[in-house]
Amino acid sequence: MSQTNVKCEDVYRYLIEDLDETLDQEARTMIRTHLGQCSNCTSVLKSLRKTISLYKAMPSAIVPASLTSHILETIKKSGKST
């Protein structure tokens, strides 16, 4: 893909698939150049990153001790019956 005349459609697939993390140098340069000139693609990339970061921010949950005991009991019973 040539660096000139790069279209948003060409960049989009790279953008959404890799978020420019796993691309080779040539593709990365092409995308960076395009992003420097295209506010639409820059906004899309920002909003994609923000979407992911919102989901990542979900706090961890702790397994209730009673649930662990219940599961272990269930497994022990099933083990004895088979």
Binding site: L54, Y55, I62, L72, S78
Partner: protein
């Protein structure tokens, strides 16, 4: 900090003993990994009750199938494939690929949104609690609309930060199929959450 090598050896030892019927080793193995399984299920199901059921189903499967674990993949990869499969079993069957194809198309930055950006801050202050609660509700609703095949790829790749190769291996699908589902899942969620993630300017 746990030494990686000794940690792995200890895990292998627990697996071998649990396989031989040692209940204490099975319990230790379960306690070591139950947090990962429960949290993954919470991120996928967005519901404590369902996450609890998934945790139970997963460790019953582990108990029954531990002899089939051959050690060629990481134990965590094997475990992820079981919990993912349990999540997939809960899905409603429908022609999901047809529904999701639209998300291959290039969107405009803000044009597909009626609302504009809403300031969101996870650091809780009383004034922002309502916005935060509303956002959590929106995040839940958006991801629950995503077909399960796509949801598990998004959670594994983007939240759990597994590599594309490992996600493909966990789901037993091709790398290309993994990328395609990830692409559509990201585009779908972005569109659903556009009022919260688009630029204000």
């Amino acid at each position: 900090m746990t030494n990686t090598l000794s940690h792995k050896t200890r895990e292998e030892e627990l697996i071998a003993l649990a396989r031989g019927g040692d209940e204490a080793s099975f319990e230790a193995l379960m306690r070591q990994h139950q947090g990962m399984v429960f949290n993954f299920a919470m991120k996928v199901c967005r519901d404590r009750q369902k996450a609890g059921e998934t945790l139970q189903d997963t460790f019953i499967n582990v108990y029954q199938k531990l002899s089939q674990f051959d050690g060629r993949s990481k134990f965590s990869t094997w475990l992820y494939s079981i919990v993912t499969n349990n999540c997939l079993m809960k899905r409603r069957r429908r022609k999901v690929d047809d529904l999701m194809e639209a998300y291959d198309e290039l969107p405009s930055a803000n044009g597909d949104s009626e609302k504009q950006g809403v300031a969101v801050n996870w650091h809780s202050t009383p004034a922002q609690d309502l916005i935060r609660d509303e956002l959590k509700e929106q995040l839940d609703q958006a991801i629950l609309k995503l077909p399960m095949e796509y949801r598990v790829v998004f959670v594994l790749r983007d939240i759990e930060e597994k590599s594309t190769d490992e996600v493909a291996s966990i789901l037993n699908i091709s790398v290309e199929a993994t990328k395609s589902r990830l692409r559509r899942a990201r585009a779908f969620l972005r569109q659903q959450l556009l009022p919260y993630v688009s630029d204000e300017r």
